[in-house]
Amino acid sequence: MSNRLGRLAPAVGAVLVLAACGESADPRENTDAAGDEDGGSSGGQVTLVMESWRNDDLAIWEDVILPAFHEQHPDIRVTFQPTAPDEYDAALDAKLSGGTAGDLITCRPFDVSLRLHEDGHLAPLTDLEGMEAFGDVARAAWSTDDGSETFCVPMASVIHGFLYNKAAFDELGLTPPETEEQFHELLAAIAADGTYAPLVMGTADQWEAATMGLQNIGPNYWNGEEGRQALIDGAERFDDEQYVAVFTELASWAEYLPSGYESMTYPDAQNMFTLGRGAIFPAGSWEIALFNEQADFEMGAFAPPLPEGQDTCYISDHTDIGIGMNAATEHPEEVRTFLEWTTSAEFADLYANALPGFFPMSDHDVEVDDPLAQEFLSWRDDCESTIRNSYQILSRGEPNLENQLWDLSAQVLNGTVQPADAAAQAQAGLERWYEPQQQ
């Protein structure tokens, strides 16, 4: 045994040395050199590297989206190079300052990307051909505060709502609710039956409580964009009655959550729902692809139910992903070519259908085949769209409103903070650093 290992060791050593040699002959360097010498003639192919946090989408980019682009532009080769989502921002920062980042940068919405732009890492794209396909709301997430300059092409948004188990609803003879009153009756009926957990969500990871709870039903209370802008202007306060009301509604969910929800994580909730043990899942549209794959029952979706006496519905149609150009790229022309392609109807169609639940934000008419995704998308026609209220400007200081809402929403659901206290704490947090709220 030890003899065999002894012989193996030099072999492993040799392989390691060879591997190290291989790396020094990076194929990218060759193409770069070739490109420079040929001046972009037929022989030179330019390779562009795309940074992203969407490692779940690797196969879709490589097999569906990028081949379509390569077919039209055989001289450009794009490689999709994702990092784990929770490491992306830190890793990208390090790579950009070290000068090793890819040519194409997937952009987080609002301040994270704005800072990269201000630091000169994301090149301006205001005059990019095809940019006119995006409205102001879509561009807002990747524009300077005054809206004069845009630095990423909006790629996709996600819509919040509720997914439900159709089989369970049929079995219990239930229909999706339209008002909050119906929603509560529905939850009570499911709870009384006892077969299914009425609402499947946990608070252990904290963000679900804020994102799929508060930001899901909230826009109906603060009237979408109107309320969001009013918070930014300082016209409304976070301890106003509508915010207390939404925390109160959130707190009322607690009795319908599975027992022990305080220690239930996001994957726990996903598994519980797709295993058919729950009836309703407060969701974001990004769940669709995974749930279609994992659940063996039919699912439906309904928009956040309307609070009493309200007839306009508001949905959180959150701008989530954009794509921009590394200002330090050696191939700005090719990068722009690719970015122009991402503004096209062809890209929107490919993307929307390859990733159901991620909705393109361009004005092109896109047919989405997936019925669930279609349902989410249809709410855009009837309801007013808005984005999460903590994302623009309000999370620039300490304490950070987004993190605070995670903590407070989870605690409201856990019953360790009262709704009115939660609203007051959020307001106190804003007042601490945000001038328009200090008056």
């Binding site: 830190a90 252990a204 904290q206 220690s263 999370s395 987004e402 993190n403 605690q411 856990n414």
Partner: protein
């Protein structure tokens, strides 16, 4: 240590011993070191020293330096101790910091009072002369230590999950229980370390001592406390200080199980997770390398204080026996 004692005595031997070699002590230091400079020592130490300097000493010093700087108009500027003043006086930051320090001490206390005594008990049982299947127990008890923290966190999360596991109470979801639960998960994983260290000392105790005690009429209980325990006291100290350093630096288990926000309501937030959020940022919170370095420096100082207290308050006072 079989080499004849011609130069400096091996550590641990006292002065009487060296003079016993018959040479006048005054002439020795002048005569020896110059003639025989031990080049091979330098050669052997150099690689380790170089790697350690580049990857440990330099980053540590640079991190200490960084804590004295802050970005002013986008430029790193020397600000003296401002970061520390800010960390300890700003109501938000200091609350978070003291909360993390307190949680860290609780985390350490659980290890100190649960892990180490149980480790000692297991070691004493393993060292019992009548035990059968000794190596099987030893291996089984040590295996968790070799597992990845991610696996340990995942398995325990499933075991105590109200959804999939055996425990009805959401232990990891309540502010009152989360931290202690996490600490006990860590105790379960690392119990093998104190156990092996204690075990190694226990089995090195010469049989004559035990036999003598038995002849003198001591039972198992008093043999343990009056003969064996004094002999393992130095190891108790070492195990304590190792536990302290490892716990004050802890991060991985809590980050794996509870994420960087270390909920609920920061009940499991320790200095490692606080450092992570401060340095790298979290979600929409932007990271600050200088404030992060300040938190890291405070961690370093707290650990240093603990280790110094151990050296001066414990190690210099207790008596070691040469076996």
């Amino acid at each position: 240590m079989t080499r004849p004692r011609t130069s400096a005595p091996p550590k641990g031997l006292d002065v009487e011993d060296t003079t016993a070699s018959g040479r006048p002590p005054a002439t020795r230091p002048a005569a020896r070191p110059r003639r025989r400079f031990r080049t091979h020592l330098v050669v052997f130490i150099a690689p380790a020293a170089a790697i350690y300097t580049i990857f440990m000493v330099y980053p540590l010093l640079d991190s200490l330096r960084l804590s004295l700087y802050a970005p002013v108009d986008g430029v790193q500027t020397f600000v003296g101790l401002d970061n520390f003043v800010h960390l300890l006086s700003d109501d938000l930051l200091s609350d978070a910091f003291w909360n993390a320090v307190w949680n860290n001490l609780v985390f350490f206390a659980v290890h100190f009072f649960v892990q180490n005594p149980i480790g000692l008990l297991l070691a004493a049982l393993l060292a019992a002369p009548t035990l059968r299947g000794r190596s099987a127990y030893r291996t089984l008890l040590f295996i968790p230590t070799t597992l990845s923290v991610v696996i340990v966190g995942f398995i325990w999360q499933l075991i105590i999950s109200p959804v999939w596991g055996f425990v009805e109470t959401p232990l990891l979801g309540q502010s009152s229980t989360a931290l202690v639960t996490l600490a006990l998960m860590s105790v379960w994983q690392y119990i093998g370390i104190p156990m092996i260290l204690f075990y190694a000392v226990l089995i090195s105790i010469p049989d004559e001592l035990i036999e003598a005690a038995t002849v003198d009429g001591a039972g198992a209980w008093s043999t343990f406390w009056r003969v064996k325990f004094p002999l393992i006291l130095p190891t108790v100290g070492i195990v304590s200080v190792i536990t302290y350093v490892a716990n004050m630096n802890a991060f991985d288990l809590i980050y794996t199980v509870k994420g960087a926000l270390a909920g609920p309501d920061f009940a499991s937030d320790i200095m490692g997770t606080l450092f992570f959020r401060t340095f790298f940022g979290f979600q929409l919170q932007q990271g600050s390398s200088t404030m992060g370095a300040t938190v890291a420096t405070m961690m370093f100082l707290l650990i240093l204080a603990g280790v110094l207290a151990y050296f001066y308050g414990w190690q210099r006072r207790i008596q070691s026996y040469q076996l």
